[in-house]
């Protein structure tokens, strides 16, 4: 393992030299470079490592592209003529380009080419080497990643190079990053104490968590450096403690919004209609499968639309799950009004049938639902990382909540829904078409479960069992919040989410969950009708 480290240092050094050479000799002869590229397809990783360092030594600007391609796994070896080419998958062929010139080649059938193997170590080496090569690149993104690479390796040898780069860097954020990288490198060098202390100040101004990693090893150093490091660590830790609490809240809200999404459809079918809807989870699952089908269609017929796949899936899932909900209501549930407990039996049966139907149709294993680009990745909020998918889910669940609340409270349909579920016979005598309203209500609840499935498909696995994983939590949320009260569902979901996240760090995920369950049991003793209990005689009537 020492060896690896030395090796990367070595490569980097080469990079540094090359860079200096670079200004004189821009490019190298193709004829000289080609065998080196060819050597990348060595028999084992050692050979490849050597080939990389040989390539870097040439200092040719094309090298970084080739190495990037290697790192991304886009470099192939044609089996027939043993040439190395740049490939992109295209049906059963590879669209091939020449690794050096970038000239378009004939497509190579997949079976006729072999991928040049890389492993994590090689990828790290390449990143470091390319970092050296691209620190002065024209492309800002390349410079940034170069600086990041050095920040990771913290190699003292790169200090002069960094100095040079910092001097000419125009972009403030990249410059700051380079300075961070330099400070990091200084800390792992044997520079004088005062230089190091300055570096400590520099480092602790940046991302605290990385800084902590840099400073911890210095903590036990005797003398002023150690003290400075200790002080910096302490201040960082206070900052982190605060951000940890923020993280718990934010993650709690995120978990809460997942719970809310899962439960909100149930708040209609169970909370408003009183149907103990055991098939609710399957409606969610069907929504997720609808997303899968939509993506599948997009993948085969309109790949450009992939980023919109979720937007298309939303109405589709609402209609599919809602439609199935209407069918279930008309076919089965409507015979069971006034016998709420029996809806449990029937919907349990429905849930078995739906699960098996999906299993027979799509197979028992997970299907793949992809993240559109705007759902992928994460961003930093202060010192915590929040993924885009989670953020969108929070936004999404709150919007669904708001819309639903509007529908129930402000529209005629909402009023009729509530009237019908409170007294079906009398509602009918008031001129309300109860069969309609029943079907629409159940359809609405199911449809909302369906769109929850679209969102959940982004963070969970899509399999016939998807719904089973959420049904218990959903009932827990609806009941904890208070049956028949949408606000209760919202607050219930969020408080369960946050409670879970505050308990998780010190009780562990498992005990944390147990504690939450016990808390729910105890809480219900205090408020036997949930968080937002309806009060007054109206309830007993």
């Amino acid at each position: 393992m020492r060896l690896n480290r030395l090796l990367s240092v070595f490569i980097l050094m080469l990079g540094v030299c090359c860079h200096i050479v670079q200004s004189h000799a821009q490019t190298v002869d193709d004829a000289k470079l080609r065998p080196l590229v060819q050597a990348l397809a060595g028999d084992n990783f050692e050979d490849t490592t050597k080939a990389i360092s040989d390539l870097v030594k040439t200092g040719d600007p094309r090298v970084s592209k080739i190495l990037d391609a290697l790192s991304a796994g886009d470099l192939y070896l044609a089996k027939a003529d043993k040439t190395v080419f740049l490939g992109k998958r295209d049906g059963s062929d590879y669209a091939a380009t020449d690794a050096l010139t970038g000239a378009k080649l004939d497509p190579v059938p997949r079976s006729a080419a072999e991928k040049i193997k890389v492993n994590n170590r090689l990828r790290r080496d390449i990143a470091a080497a390319v970092g050296g090569l691209t620190l002065m690149s024209d492309n800002i993104a390349e410079r940034r990643s170069a600086a990041e690479a050095i920040l990771k390796t913290r190699d003292p040898e790169s200090i002069p190079l960094l100095d040079q780069a910092i001097a000419v860097e125009k972009d403030a954020s990249v410059k700051a990053l380079m300075q961070q990288a330099k400070a990091a490198a200084v800390l792992s060098s044997d520079a004088a104490d005062d230089v190091k202390i300055a570096a400590i100040t520099e480092v602790s101004a940046g991302n605290s968590r990385d800084a902590l990693g840099l400073l911890t090893p210095l903590e036990n150093v005797q003398g002023p450096v150690g003290e400075a490091a200790k002080a910096a660590i302490d201040s960082i830790n206070t900052k982190l403690a605060f951000w940890n609490a923020v993280q718990n809240v934010v993650y709690g809200l995120s978990l809460g919004s997942v719970l809310l999404l899962a439960a909100i459809g149930l708040a209609i079918t169970f909370g408003v209609m009183g149907v103990i809807n055991m098939a609710h989870g399957e409606m969610v699952m069907i929504g997720a499968y609808t997303t899968f089908v939509v993506q599948q269609i997009i993948r085969t017929s309109a790949p450009g639309l992939f980023d919109y796949s979720l937007l298309i899936a939303l109405p589709a899932a609402f209609l599919v799950s809602g439609g199935i909900g209407v069918v279930i209501e008309r076919g089965i549930i409507r015979f069971l009004y006034g016998r709420p407990l029996e809806t449990l039996l029937a919907t349990w049966g429905i849930s078995l049938v739906l699960q098996q139907a999906i299993r027979s149709w799509f197979g028992a294993s997970n299907v793949q639902v992809g993240n559109p680009s705007w759902m992928a990745g994460s961003f930093d909020l202060g010192l915590i990382t929040l993924t885009w998918s989670r953020l969108w889910i929070i936004v999404f669940s709150l919007s669904v909540f708001a819309i639903l609340q509007l529908v129930l409270k402000k529209t005629m349909l909402g009023l009729r829904m509530r009237a019908v579920t409170q007294n079906r016979r009398m509602a009918s005598s008031m001129g309300i078409r109860t069969p309609w309203v029943d079907a629409l209500t159940f359809g609405l609840g199911s449809g909302i479960a369906g769109i929850a499935g679209v969102a959940l498909s982004q963070i969970d696995n899509v399999s016939p069992n998807l719904g089973q994983g959420y049904i218990i939590d959903s009932f827990m949320v609806v009941v904890f919040g208070g049956v028949g009260n949408l606000w209760g569902t919202l607050v219930g979901a969020m408080s369960l989410g946050i409670a879970n996240k505050f308990l998780e760090p010190f009780a562990g995920a498992v005990l944390g969950k147990i504690v939450v369950l016990v808390l729910i049991i105890l809480f219900i003793q205090k408020r036997p009708r949930g968080l937002f209990a309806l009060k007054g005689r109206a309830i007993e009537a």
Binding site: R418, A427, S429, M430, G431, P435, G536, R537, A538, I539
Partner: protein, 231 residues
């Protein structure tokens, strides 16, 4: 307006109506009396479509109601004030009234002012949940709610039950008003003899699921009629 012919009704094995025939004329008040459990409510349930007849027929404005569901009957103009009020407990008073819009025509989706004139309490309690009202207030709400549908025939099952005397008088006046000014036909089931006598254009008396007497209000004082109302 409303004609019932030879109607029978069963609850499982138990027969509640036996060949009942009855008529309600337009712009008139028809009153049905009878002891407990003789089938008055059952008859009204059959009229509004909450329970099917086992034989016989009911026609409204000349067309047979057959097996029409209650909401179609409500839309055709039959409004019902049930025994036991049956207001929607978790809806506010305003919302309870608004449920009647379903049966009203588009232009009529508002609460007619008579309702608040008749029952001023309702106006002060628009935001309160129906279930929280007192028994009498609920009864008032139930009548108000029926009027929101702008019915042609108003079917009332013991509307005075649990209502304070002054309002009973108001209700009486209102019923007359509805007949005279709005031209409604009214079918009223009552136990409260005086109330009936004052209002009714025509009375029926039921016993054991059958109509045993039919006549005008004055006939109620005859002893052979009275015997059906004693214990």
């Amino acid at each position: 307006m409303l004609t019932i012919e030879n109607a029978s009704l069963h609850y499982g094995a138990a027969q509640a109506l036996r060949g009942v025939s009855l008529q309600v004329k337009p712009k008139s008040i028809t009153c049905v009396l009878g002891r407990n459990g003789v089938g008055k409510t059952s008859m009204l349930r059959a009229i509004v479509g909450q329970h099917p007849l086992s034989s016989g027929s009911i026609s409204f404005e000349g067309s047979a109601l057959g097996r029409k569901p209650p909401y179609d009957r409500a839309r055709a103009g039959i409004a019902f004030v049930p025994q036991g009020r049956e207001i929607f407990p978790l809806l506010t008073v305003r919302e309870n009234l608004a449920t009647g819009f379903a049966a009203a025509t588009r232009g009529n989706r508002n609460v007619p002012p008579e309702v608040f004139e008749l029952f001023p309490v309702l106006k002060t309690m628009l935001g309160r949940r129906g279930g929280d009202l007192s028994g009498g207030q609920q009864q008032q709400l139930a009548i108000g709610r029926a009027l929101v549908t702008r019915p042609k025939l108003l079917v009332l099952d013991e509307p005075t039950e649990g209502i304070q005397p002054s309002i009973i008088k108001d209700i009486g006046r209102a019923i007359q008003f509805l007949r005279d000014q709005a031209g409604l036909a009214i079918l009223l089931v009552e136990q409260y003899l005086d109330f009936c006598r004052e209002l009714a254009d025509h009375v029926y008396i039921m016993d054991r699921g059958e109509i045993v007497h039919s006549g005008d209000a004055a006939s109620l004082d005859k002893p052979e009629v009275r015997k059906f109302l004693t214990v």
